[in-house]
């Protein structure tokens, strides 16, 4: 069964902005799914529609086969959401915020308090339970919202950029928390514009840009599909003529540095032979960092081109 099934979702805001333009996604139960896209892509809008914060223009959404329009109470019971922006009452105590949320899902106070202790402990907030929410640090506020989202033990947890503004160490902690949660059976959907995060956590990724899904496949496939390896080479003397080779792109950065982008299917030693023929001495060679970041930009650029080509027709 799909944890989430979206068909032809569109959203045009009152000001005319078309934030979502016909998105269809199906996310199987128990998966860890990433919705990856730059700012303004429409991620928050989609989550808003799923969680009843934004009114859709058209389309259909089902949560574990429950239509959010027809069986809204059952559907909502299955979702927990961690929004992008803080949205709790800052003067309330941490424990009250979490226990109240359980109340909105019909969980009696006694059971709610049990769950609250469980999740506040797991998220390292138990010691802060009697403090006003405004006194928490940014990372703690985010974790408070995670505890709040989990309090009714939803089968589907949706997180909108959960690690934005969270420092590296805490980000790792949050990742392992989410991974454990997923292993114990909770379906997780996470939006992010950090590739590293999606690659690390998600088995499947949908890439969204300008309100459209431009890629939706397993993380591995996405990486393979676009896997170009990039190398930076320090060379002894300026390169006079670029050697020609299929699947290989050489950029001269300066007299002693060149960048090589090589398709995965191509052979590195072939390239070395060609360089040798040009009498180029390689002093050192390193992998270019942020390979995935590059891939991402690549995807977005392709999407853009595709769309513009479509327009010209």
């Amino acid at each position: 069964m799909d944890a989430l099934n979206i068909e032809n979702l569109t959203k045009t805001y009152a000001n005319g902005v078309e934030a979502v333009k016909g998105v269809s996604i199906s996310i199987p139960e128990r998966s860890f799914y990433g919705l990856l896209g730059p700012n303004g892509a429409g991620k928050t809008t989609i989550i808003g529609i799923i969680t009843d914060m934004v009114v859709k223009t058209s389309g259909r959404i089902k949560i574990f086969d429950k239509d959010i329009d027809k069986e809204f109470s059952d559907a909502k019971q299955l979702i927990g959401v961690v929004p992008q922006e803080m949205n709790f009452a800052i003067f309330e105590k941490v424990i009250d915020i979490v226990v109240q949320q359980a109340g909105y899902y019909g969980i009696a106070k006694k059971d709610a308090e049990k769950n609250a202790e469980k999740y506040l402990r797991q998220l390292g907030l138990w010691d802060k339970r009697d403090e006003q929410a405004k006194s928490l640090s940014g990372g703690m506020k985010r974790r408070l919202m995670i505890a709040r989202a989990l309090i009714h033990e939803p089968k589907l947890l949706i997180l909108d950029e959960p690690t934005a503004g969270v420092d590296v160490e805490l980000r790792r902690d949050m990742w392992s928390f989410l991974t454990r949660l997923n292993k114990s059976g909770t379906t997780i959907i996470l939006t992010t514009h950090y590739l590293e995060e999606a690659e690390h956590l998600c088995k499947r990724i949908a890439i969204i840009n300008k309100g459209m899904i431009i890629e939706d496949s397993s993380t591995k496939e996405i990486i393979n599909k676009l896997d170009k390896q990039s190398y930076i080479l320090d060379i002894a003397s300026p390169m006079k003529k670029k050697p020609e080779m299929k699947g290989c792109n050489i950029t001269i950065i300066d007299d002693t540095t060149i960048e090589i982008e090589l398709d995965k299917s191509q052979n590195l030693s072939e390239l070395m032979r060609l360089l040798d023929k040009e009498k180029i001495t390689i002093l050192s060679m390193r992998n270019k960092a942020n390979r995935l970041e590059e891939m991402f930009i690549d995807l977005i650029e392709n999407g853009k081109e595709g769309k513009e080509k479509g327009k010209r027709k």
């Binding site: 805001y13 009152a14 808003g48 969680t51 009843d52 914060m53 934004v54 009114v55 809204f72 109470s73 059952d74 909502k76 019971q77 979702i79 959401v81 929004p83 922006e85 803080m86 949205n87 709790f88 009452a89 800052i90 003067f91 309330e92 009250d96 915020i97 109240q100 949320q101 109340g103 909105y104 899902y105 019909g106 969980i107 009696a108 106070k109 709040r148």
Partner: protein, 254 residues
């Protein structure tokens, strides 16, 4: 889902908020009405002749109770709901399966807690200044509770359509307060020229003040049953408008 759980959750949350700032919640009304009692009861009360056959301070007591019930119920819900919109904590309820009517009722009951507690405090203060008897306890209770409910719901509407804290102060200051003061809190409309008596009858608050006063004094400017009907109608109308706007997500959903 047992809807009593979310309902009581909202009521508890609102009550905690009210009592956390109890000075702000209850004292202003109590202080103001105490001053009225001192001035009209002790200082100048002896110089004012009876009103409709009652000692002046006794005559104004029910109106002063209504004054505090109306303003505190209204401002509590208007301010509280606007604040949760402003802080976006309203989203906590919107994403949950709690139905809209429970959200509205929970906030309204919260407003009633504050309105009624304030009203009771004012009545307790009045014991020191007035010699009033109870004519009909049921009429007192019905008017007390329904008035508070109606103005809590009106406050909810204000909170929902407000875009700023100014919008929260606007209606109480420029609409509610004049209507209350002109609604016969300090006089019986029989002292007015006939023309103004007719005009006064278009003021819904006259019916609440007069009806509530009837419960104590057995005297009213209006038909008490008609007043009860007006209260019911206004309460229902405000509830329905709130339901419609909540369904639309007015000011909350985009």
């Amino acid at each position: 889902m047992n809807l009593l759980v979310p309902l009581m959750t909202i009521v508890r949350k609102e009550t905690i908020r009210i009592f956390r700032v109890w000075r702000q919640s209850f004292l202003p009304s109590v202080v103001t009405t105490t001053l009225y009692f001192i001035i009209f009861g002790n200082f100048i009360g002896s110089r004012i002749s009876d009103m409709a056959g009652f000692k002046y301070v006794d005559f104004i007591m029910p109106g002063l109770v209504m004054l505090s019930v109306i303003t505190t119920s209204y401002t509590n819900v208007a301010g509280g709901f606007f604040l949760s919109k402003f802080q976006r904590s309203i989203e906590e309820m919107i994403v949950s399966p709690t139905p809209n009517w429970v959200i509205i009722a929970g906030h309204a009951i919260g407003g009633m807690v504050r309105g009624l507690v304030t009203g009771i405090l004012v009545m307790l203060v009045s014991l020191f200044f007035t010699h009033i008897k109870i004519h009909n306890i049921w009429i007192i209770l019905i008017y007390f509770i329904l008035t508070s409910a109606m103005f809590s719901l009106a406050g909810f509407l204000n909170g929902m359509i407000a875009n700023s804290f100014d919008d929260i102060a606007l209606i109480p200051n420029f609409l509610l307060t004049p209507l209350i003061y002109l609604g016969g809190v300090f006089y019986s409309i029989t002292v007015l020229p006939e023309f103004w008596q007719h005009i006064s009858k278009f003021n819904p608050i006259l019916y609440m003040v007069s009806g509530f006063r009837y419960g104590f004094l057995g005297f009213s400017d209006i038909d008490v049953f008609f007043g009860f009907v007006i209260l019911l109608v206004f309460t229902a109308v405000f509830f329905i408008i709130n339901m419609i706007l909540m369904k639309k997500g007015y000011g909350i959903k985009s």
